[in-house]
Symmetry: C2
Subunit: 210 residues, 2 copies
Amino acid sequence: MGRNATVSRVRLILASQSPARLATLQRAGIEPEVIVSGVDESAPAPVAPVDLAQHLARRKVTAVADRTPIEADDEVLIGCDSVLEVDGQAHGKPADADEAVRRWLTLSGRSAILHSGHHVIRRTEDGLIREVGRPGSTVVHFAELSAAEIEAYVATGEPLHVAGAFTIDGYGGPFISRIEGDHHNVLGLSLPLLRILLDELGVHWTDLWR
Amino acid sequence: MGRNATVSRVRLILASQSPARLATLQRAGIEPEVIVSGVDESAPAPVAPVDLAQHLARRKVTAVADRTPIEADDEVLIGCDSVLEVDGQAHGKPADADEAVRRWLTLSGRSAILHSGHHVIRRTEDGLIREVGRPGSTVVHFAELSAAEIEAYVATGEPLHVAGAFTIDGYGGPFISRIEGDHHNVLGLSLPLLRILLDELGVHWTDLWR
């Protein structure tokens, strides 16, 4: 991959209200604009968890693209959505603390798969609109937690705000014994996958650095 | 694991000047005191990379324990050290930008193992000193980078300050395609391993939360 001279003209939009996704990009030196899609995340017809994540990622970024006027010569819009697959079922955010506790009683000592859908749209000044998308999947192995630890973890409030009722980069960190895949994908946005998708659209990652 | 009533009396000391280790603990809700060991990190006699990391972790925390007066009824001191194993050789921080570029030309498109040594000392009011230590090892798969990307990454300065010439949680994030293990271990301190070591010393992780 080379570099080009169009660096400063790329307007980068993240179609997600997830603080973890924004922080993931910022820690990697990327500062996007955030525009929230407002897409209803309730599941459509029964579908495999990985397809659900990819479907919602595409819907979110498409909704934002549809209602956001083109303002720059080169715009990139990123949509993501995450689900945790446990025994073939998709788990989103828990409804309340009781559900978070029940989830953790199931997860303790076993593994699951965190799928994050990614869909990227590029709109350039020549009127071309191109898009690519693929899901990232990371196997997550959960440590064995005592009932007291689950209670203490849920009491932090953290599990209530995230798909799968855990986050790997906060209070939940010590409770994930290992992963296979990209840990950013567990946070909701895979940086290595996004780099590849952007490259497929002709955008070089290092050109996006501030 | 249960809970005990000694929560507020634990003085937690991190024997490391690594900002990544401190941030890893802080993001997980733990606020340690930092006391730097000043231990010379140059390698001793030839030794396996994983043993080198564990040896230096123990030396660092022992040096800090030796010169830090006991001030609380219950004190826990944590020492860590990280090396990247590439073809059986230990790689620490690169000496300069040229070395960082050469390292990345080697790492691009292949994998290596990040070893972080962990040694924990607990000193309690009854005069007992107990210690445990074990290394954590994470396989790291590097993406294929162009020469221009390597140049741009090294120009950020980030690779010069870290073992192995990369960090997974900063500009380097998109250049790590996947890992097998704990990503905190790649940052220099494995939270799930530390939780287990502390438990072996009778300290419950959730009792350390602020």
